[in-house]
């Protein structure tokens, strides 16, 4: 099974799709390589976080996603 990327907020606009399957395992370098241009740049920004399987990573560069994991790409939030 692949790793499923889920793009939230403006990252979904940049990706052009809400989700994207990429090969497992997936580390930080692999993620950036899989995301071309502005999307990859945005994801490297300080204010974008990653969650794997519903847990937010304290250090996104420590990404280590396995077969079947869902990786959410979380830009700055805005609610209320």
């Amino acid at each position: 099974m692949p790793v499923k990327l889920v793009f939230l907020g403006k990252l979904a606009d940049l990706a052009g799709v809400p989700t994207l399957d990429v090969a497992a395992p997936l580390d930080w370098a692999g993620l950036i390589a899989a995301l071309p241009g502005p999307l990859g740049e945005a994801v490297q920004g300080d204010r974008v976080k990653l969650a794997v399987g519903g847990t937010v990573l304290a250090d996104k560069t420590a990404l280590d996603a396995l077969d079947g994991n869902e990786v959410a790409l979380l830009p700055p939030v805005s609610g209320g």
């Binding site: 939230l8 907020g9 969650a51 519903g54 979380l74 805005s78 609610g79 209320g80």
Partner: protein, 148 residues
């Protein structure tokens, strides 16, 4: 102590929910509430709130627990809309019941500050046919920092 936290995919009636919450806490003494709506006084035609299932509701529940731990409350209600909504529709409702007024008012203030810029929502608005993503204002971040 009642904690009620919900995401709503459809329009909700804040007056009815607040009245039901109040009725569930008879003799509470103090009830503070806040309702945020899509403003209708500018060129915004629609607002869309998106969320992320594995994080959003759990994060709201954790926020409610923090508020209950921090303030002397009898109950706390948080309802947040997701999806696309029109001017005048309600986005968020927070209501807090307490024995004393300032615990209730502060809990609502605390919850709203966190929902605004520290909860897993993403907001965009449509003006003149164009969707635009909204980020919290500098004041929103300053408001949040008050609680740290």
């Amino acid at each position: 102590m009642a904690r009620e936290v919900r995401l709503s995919e459809v329009a909700f009636d804040p007056a009815a929910l607040t009245a039901a919450f109040a009725a569930a806490h008879p003799g509470h003494g103090a009830l503070a509430s806040f309702v945020g709506q899509v403003r209708g006084d500018d060129a915004v035609k629609a607002l869309e709130l998106s969320h992320y299932g594995p994080l959003t509701l759990a994060g709201m529940e954790a926020l409610a627990d923090q508020a209950l731990a921090r303030f002397d409350l009898l109950g706390l209600l948080i309802v947040h809309r997701v999806g696309e909504m029109r001017p005048g529709e309600s986005i968020v409702l927070v209501a807090a019941a307490a024995r004393h007024r300032r615990a209730a008012i502060e809990a609502v203030d605390y919850a709203m500050d966190h929902l605004k810029s520290d909860a897993w929502f993403w907001k965009r608005e449509r003006r003149g046919g164009e969707w635009r993503w909204i980020e919290p204002r500098a004041e929103d971040h300053a408001d949040l920092a008050r609680w740290r």
